[in-house]
Symmetry: C2
Subunit: 305 residues, 2 copies
């Protein structure tokens, strides 16, 4: 069985280990700080590859940002990664094959090959954090779109009347309603909309200062206002997911990201299947968690080999 070195390059840390074709982790997972310059990142990656050179066949890298169609460079780097990062030709890091892919694509591949979506045909992953990201696998292939930018699901609009400004500057993006930021927006709007605010545990607070934690904690404490806000948020989650189901006909949706623990996947699955015009879908929580990028990158490098 062939082996890959999977490396997840994050804004603050780099995570890596050796994997087999089934996604089993064969070496201790190591974690180091992401260096501050592109040159140092390049040297650090070369060192990591050197350490494991004799054990591996290919190297897979997971990175934020859009990746070129040859999977050798990151085209649009993110504010978390240093200047010059998008000039690195990752294929030059080793004489063994190096394959770089966007972190969302790596994550959906990890879930499809060795996580919650193992055995499914068409897998949509939706990552719910500060914003909402996505990835899609169908019939054994990543869906990348024409230039590798597909599955920017957080940007689809779920209102068409310029109601809620998104942090991106546009209006009514799904992530302005159904992400962590969306939950805060639901609380701010809910304070005006729901009379329950006046009797809620937050009645003396400025609604603008409410956090996602306040609301999820309020739901646990059975606060009526928090429950209404949370119900709205879950409805917005449903609206986006049922649309994506109708468009993509997945047989599995995997939810991941910092907010995914608050999502009632069973209720969502039931509501989506009651309303979708296509065949039924399973909704599951991600399993590979923090290792998703590392595992997915390694497995993709092996798959494309």
């Amino acid at each position: 069985m062939k082996k890959a070195l999977g490396i997840d390059i994050g804004g603050t840390k780099i995570l890596y280990s050796v994997l087999d074709e089934e996604g089993n982790i064969l070496s201790e997972i190591k974690k180091i700080h992401t260096p501050k310059t592109a040159e140092e990142i390049e040297n650090t990656l070369k060192n990591i590859i050197e350490q494991h050179y004799d054990e591996i066949d290919v190297i897979g890298l997971s990175s934020a940002g859009a990746v070129n169609l040859e999977n050798t460079m990151v085209l649009s780097s993110t504010p978390n990664l240093p200047q010059g990062y998008n000039s690195i030709d990752f294929s030059k890091l080793s004489d063994k094959k190096v394959f770089v892919e966007n972190d969302a694509n790596c994550a959906v591949w990890a879930e499809y090959k060795s996580g919650a979506a193992k055995g499914f045909d068409t897998v949509l992953m939706v990552t719910i954090g500060t914003g909402i990201g996505g990835g899609l696998v169908s019939k054994g292939r990543l869906f990348r779109g024409s230039k590798g930018n597909a599955l920017e699901v957080g940007s689809m609009k779920i209102f068409a009347d310029k109601r809620q400004k998104c942090t991106c500057g546009r209006y009514d993006c799904w992530e302005a309603y159904a992400s962590g930021t969306g939950l805060k927006n639901c609380a701010i709007n809910g304070a005006l909309e729901f009379p329950e605010f006046k009797t809620s545990i937050f009645k003396d607070k400025n609604p603008q200062s409410l956090t996602t934690y306040d609301i999820t904690d309020g739901v646990e404490k059975n606060d009526e206002f928090s429950k209404k806000v949370f119900e709205n948020w879950q409805y917005y989650m449903f609206v986006g997911l049922v649309g994506l189901t109708d468009i993509l006909n997945p047989d599995c949706i995997v939810v991941s990201g910092g907010m995914c623990e608050f999502v009632d996947v069973n209720q969502l699955e039931e509501k989506i299947n009651a309303e979708t015009v296509v065949t039924n879908v399973c909704v599951k929580r991600a399993e590979t968690k923090n290792n998703a990028g590392m595992i997915g990158a390694g497995l993709l490098a092996l798959n494309e080999n």
Copy 2:
């Protein structure tokens, strides 16, 4: 060069001709009435195949309804096709290969191979008639989803507050706003919303009786109310298309169907590219028109051969 018999089975007529691998039509296009029973349809198809048997290598059929993954049967037949239609095993019609595909998938394939989207990588087709349908090709493959039902784009919601009931019984489907039916809904709602209705050429009409023709005709006659209604309709069109662009990252969107002549494709393209978070897209009007199903079915049968 191999040749296909392309057959489009519609609710009222069957259209067919012989095609080559480039989509060139090699025989006169024939049109016959669709028989009223499944058995007669089967016999008619056998006769058509018999007529052209010596000229062709494969047979491609375009049909309404969802098709099984083996492309041999139509699973869900439509009200326009007779009982028993979904029991026909089309692969048994001939000893040559018979390939059946959903009409929307055939249409996008026709545009991709020999129509407006020739040479593009990822092609989204949106068919705007009474409702809205869709099809997608990416990297030389039809995107079908897990069970062949994908691209039910008309069902994605563009509002999340149960504002407009759709003919399907659910709320806020894109097609309740941006289809032909959607334009009528825009007129009905506009009569309440826009004071211009009181001075419009329709002021003495019951808004419920306004047709899509009334509005498009009113726009031509420079009627202020019609122009406002039409502007809303185009905005709803844009909202759906920019979302689909962010999700699918197509490099070409082809609009087709009875309403497509009213769509300002240049304005739509400009607005989508100003707002999308992914790479730019071209918006074009379909070219294969009424022959789309027939051409696409023939070309798909040749491609899958």
